[in-house]
Subunit: 361 residues, 2 copies
Amino acid sequence: MDLDLRAPVGELTRCLVDVPSVSGDEAALADAVQAALGRIGGLRVERDGDAVVARTSLGLPSRIVLAGHLDTVPIADNLPSRVEGGRLYGCGTSDMKAGVAIALRLAATLPLTEPGALRHDITWICYDHEEVEAARNGLRRLAAQHRDWLDGDLAILMEPTSGEVEAGCQGTLRVIVRLGGRRAHSARSWLGDNAIHKAGALLQRLAAYEARSVTLDGCTYREGLSAVRVDGGVAGNVIPDACAVTVNFRFAPDRTPQAAVEHVREVLAGYECEVTDLSGGAPPGLAAAPAAAFVAATGRTPVAKYGWTDVARFAELGIPALNYGPGDPNLAHTREEYVELAAIDEGERLLRGYLTGALTA
Amino acid sequence: MDLDLRAPVGELTRCLVDVPSVSGDEAALADAVQAALGRIGGLRVERDGDAVVARTSLGLPSRIVLAGHLDTVPIADNLPSRVEGGRLYGCGTSDMKAGVAIALRLAATLPLTEPGALRHDITWICYDHEEVEAARNGLRRLAAQHRDWLDGDLAILMEPTSGEVEAGCQGTLRVIVRLGGRRAHSARSWLGDNAIHKAGALLQRLAAYEARSVTLDGCTYREGLSAVRVDGGVAGNVIPDACAVTVNFRFAPDRTPQAAVEHVREVLAGYECEVTDLSGGAPPGLAAAPAAAFVAATGRTPVAKYGWTDVARFAELGIPALNYGPGDPNLAHTREEYVELAAIDEGERLLRGYLTGALTA
């Protein structure tokens, strides 16, 4: 399949969306992206698994990374895409092929080989397996195996933000609290020890928890501690000897992962907590010059990112990173997912201006 | 598979236990029981689903029903059975294959065709689906479709009673309390309304409930109100909009089923309760002559039955019924379930004496 990266960005988005690429099934799209980038002069194109990385080598004093994942959540009867009322509907439109289309069109239309035309060297990263468990994440794999491909002074992750600059991200921690007891026939309940009843006090504690907010670089990060699963019971006539509550803590990036674990253990004192999932947050990192310049170019007031994103992986490598994309994050993973075509145009215009220096504060 | 019903009763129990028969999976055991009973002269054997009924037709003035269920609760790493220190361990040993083994061995060893050898005609009922919701209960099905198969002047249900005569039974009521809420991404938990958190106050109320005791015909019935299942959660990153708690109320037979429902609605005021399962209890019913004669033959003082049992179905049909079996009811549904081999022998001896008239008060 041939991708025309010079097509209008809305059309290009539609082409990308109509190549299904549910996590684990990104090969066809990655092949097409690799082939299309390979036809552009001035780019060094690399491939690892179903991740494609392309870089200029102009020797400019700074490098901007434009990153986006190629995969989508499972299709929900919402492919092929359709255009209606200025919107492109379909799986992956908002999250995040519109952002990927902007980045790819810039690769094909910026004057990459014209001396003085660009303010920064540029790296394009299109990766796989973002919508599944962290262990399979393509950006994580690139960081581990090709650290140098990710180098840069600012990474712009084109996740849906409705055109806002969403800085840094929260961390996320999941623990399972397992409550024990003693089985008995429910007709002789006094002989047992009901594990489900013990969850009452735990859930009351979670319900009463007052989550903290913290402001960093002008961005307010609001935390949350929530039960996301509860499961207990043996049979309808048995006093249960086990009940498990899964708790998700979304924490502000001023806490280290370890501090987040300690906080949850403190809140849930008296209960055994098994950590099942832990990813640190990313500080806003807006002080760094390239980030400040990007924010100025957008003319927007940056806000905190609610939700863990791969900006945390860049932050961990010491690369300032922010989220910026045309999609509406609230539509991500819904059947009704869409992206405003005008928002994609606007995103392309803004990024082009920033990269060429035509747009400054 | 061939069952030797003439084997010593402990061995026969072990054979029955080692044929797994979790509710819904009784066919293999029912087939074996049907085939074995079919080889005995003087018995008319019937089959309905996985229930097997066998009857003598000696024209005697009274008929005793020996009834037991073939199914067990889910296996808890406790099969195959093992013998240790005079005990047979394993799923279904106490509840209630030991009782079934006594009844079946009597079928094979009593002189069913010898004139004058028996005091009563006898009916054997081995049925399915006792350990699950009432709608699937095999005895209920038989009562609805083959009422005449159940006829008798006294039904002895061989549920575990440690060799005691356990009179009547508690009623049982199950309700589901469904808690609602509003979904949101767990990174923006304040936009949602956590249904699992709401279960906290409900479970606390159940944990604090003080159960009543009541004495009828000298038998004390103790009640209990217990959560037996809790289930909530959408995904690890979603504030859940639904959580369901199943509550089981075991009530004394002085409450009607309707009064039991009203009591639970009162205790759980403020929550919507959906009744999923309701079975009335059975009064002790020790006044009827065949019951009094059986009690006298055992030489024991009858006590209240803790647990709803199918004696209530016989009581509903106007057939006096009591529980009598060799297993310890406190071990029913536990991982450590066992039965004393000596208690099975004693149960067989006592019933044989009662049925042949060798044992009287």
